[in-house]
């Protein structure tokens, strides 16, 4: 009897904590999301009820904000970045994790060390480099910058996940006669998939939200969302109703992506159990 109610109490406690977490996450998000549906004048009122409007979403896609072009640019740049970075990073991470190499420590630390320096210090060297290459204000330039930004973190994160995967299944497969390549493809990758996807989302978000390089390198043609968002800092003040609407546009792809990916996580976990 006592044990049963203790379990129930613990269960309830867990439930409470999870609920509080959800609330903690959601409250600021609700605040922002609700702002997207308010008229500008209602923003400064703390009302729970207000007359909603969809006009903000229309306004942000019109001139002078033209959010759609920036959305396209951001999507292309971020997608290109992870499509190039994640496969390369996974290969390197596997190697760092499973093999001993000459100078591996140096390589590994140096890769991460390229990200120790704040962006402000290297943005102008990049700027001049692109000026001399003639690729200022292009998406290519942004992809190059984001690649350098994202690679170290991708490698480190994926390596961390691969490190957590026990060697037994790989060794078993190797003993069975598979080549190393087949092992990576058929054994390691499926198990590391949640990790790779997490790293992929991380890198996508990094590239998606990158501001300073985009500001300095682009002017008209390759402007991305974060720079576009700065247009909502008008001289009369921050245009909350518009920035909230744009914020939703920015968060939505991520949210949809993550929901779809939850299924992968579930798969990954059950795979780990059934062995």
């Amino acid at each position: 009897m006592v044990k049963g109610s203790k379990n129930k109490f613990l269960d309830f406690l867990q439930f409470l904590v999870i609920l509080l977490t959800a609330v903690f996450i959601l409250v600021p998000i609700y605040w922002i999301v609700s702002g997207a549906f308010k008229h500008q004048v209602d923003i400064f009122q703390l009302k729970l009820l207000f007359t909603p409007t969809l006009e903000n979403f229309e306004i942000i896609f019109r001139s002078p904000y033209n959010l759609f072009d920036k959305l396209v640019n951001s999507t292309l740049v971020a997608l290109s970045t992870i499509l190039i970075a994640i496969p390369i990073a996974t290969m390197a991470a596997y190697s760092f994790s499973r093999f001993r190499m000459k100078g591996e420590r140096l390589m590994f630390v140096t890769i991460l060390a390229t990200q120790f320096v704040p962006a402000v210090v290297i943005v102008l060297p990049f700027f001049i480099l692109f000026r001399d290459l003639g690729i200022l204000d292009t998406r290519l330039a942004l992809v190059l910058v984001n690649l350098s930004l994202v690679m170290p973190f991708a490698i480190w994160m994926i390596k961390g996940f691969i490190d957590s995967i026990p060697l037994d299944s790989e060794e078993a497969a190797l003993v069975d006669g598979s080549s190393r390549f087949q092992v990576i493809l058929n054994v390691t990758l499926p198990m590391a998939l949640p990790g790779v996807i997490t790293a992929g989302i991380f890198c996508f978000i990094l590239a998606w939200n990158e501001f300073l390089f985009a500001l300095i390198i682009t002017t008209n043609k390759a402007v991305t969302l974060p720079v576009g968002l700065s247009l909502f800092h008008a001289e009369e003040g921050v245009l909350w109703h518009l920035i909230s609407a744009a914020g939703i546009m920015i968060m939505l792809p991520m949210f949809v992506l993550a929901t779809i990916i939850q299924k992968h996580f579930v798969q990954g976990m059950t795979m780990g159990a059934v062995r």
């Binding site: 959800a22 390197a92 590994f108 120790f116 060297p125 190059l144």
Partner: protein, 301 residues
């Protein structure tokens, strides 16, 4: 035998990408941290580093920027602020994330639903978070004011961003809100690789959950945990947009992190060489942290 070539082949593309994109700008900025690189001076040519220099014969001149930094008490102030901020936010967010990961890892519809929410705070850009949180702390119509009005009346009229300590709490709070959910996702992913059989074996042996956690779970997710800590620390040390939007280093210099100090000296005061020098001083603790990681995790194979 084939493995020997394969391992270098696997690593090569990554090294190539990093080397070709990152090294040249880094080298330039490192070189310029020893020179008087100011954005408000004319240059001799279109290259970034063609300035007239004097004092070249004096070798100590090369370290001017670094010495200047060490003499400046605003520099030391930012070191102090950054240390407090980073340590607090890393401890709180990693600790919370680990706990939440354990709570949310098991399946079930409720948990799955909450897990989909975890990506949201991280999907917001730091600038947007800074600006929204500043809005929420507004003493006239901010969300937190409404909360406190209802829940903790004495706190209702406090100007959070106008008080040195409260502003720091606000900053750490927004950073924790930003990162904890994502770190939770990362740790959940890590928990997925914990060998189920070892856990079951331990349970059969009669071990309680705490022991299982310490002996089975923790060692298994240590690599992921360590990576999480290292990455979070690096990002906290470099964090700029959030401080800029939320407090702008205020009140006074009470929340001026090193990244903020570097940015302002670089772009706002046009002293890029000095800013570079300070950045390269900032990398020292990062190297230290990485060295620690290497010692603890990398070699445990």
């Amino acid at each position: 035998m084939r493995d020997r070539l394969l391992k270098y082949f696997l690593v090569f593309p990554a090294i190539f990408v990093v080397a070709s994109t990152a090294f040249w700008p880094l080298f330039q900025s490192f070189y310029l941290s020893f020179r008087e690189w100011k954005l408000n001076r004319a240059r001799e040519s279109r290259a970034l580093w063609d300035y007239e220099y004097d004092g070249l014969e004096n070798i100590a001149y090369l370290f001017d920027n670094y010495l200047l930094a060490l003499e400046d008490d605003l520099f030391w102030n930012s070191v102090r602020v950054t240390s407090i901020f980073t340590v607090t936010s890393v401890l709180v967010s990693v600790g919370l994330a680990l706990g939440l990961a354990l709570l949310l890892a098991p399946g079930g519809k409720f948990r799955l639903t909450v897990r989909t929410l975890l990506i949201l705070p991280f999907a917001m850009s730091p600038a947007l978070i800074g600006v929204s949180w500043r809005f929420m702390f507004q003493p006239d119509f901010g969300l937190f004011k409404a909360f406190f009005d209802v829940l903790i009346p004495p706190l209702a009229d406090v100007d959070w961003l106008g008080d040195a300590n409260l502003a720091m709490i606000a900053l750490v709070g927004s950073e924790v809100w930003h990162w904890t959910p994502y770190l939770t996702l990362v740790f959940i992913g890590g928990l997925a690789t914990v060998p189920q059989d070892a856990q079951e074996a331990a349970m059969i042996d009669g071990a309680n959950s705490w022991r299982i956690f310490c002996d089975v779970t923790l060692p298994s997710i240590l690599p992921v945990l360590a990576v999480g800590i290292v990455l979070k620390t690096i990002f906290s040390l470099k964090m700029f947009d959030q401080v800029y939007m939320l407090t702008n280093g205020g009140p006074g210099n009470a929340t001026q992190t090193l990244a903020h100090y570097i940015y302002f000296n670089g772009f706002k005061y046009y002293n890029m060489g000095y800013a570079s020098a300070v950045s390269y001083l900032l990398v020292i603790p990062m190297f230290g942290l990485t060295w620690l990681y290497m010692k603890l995790v990398f070699l445990k194979r």
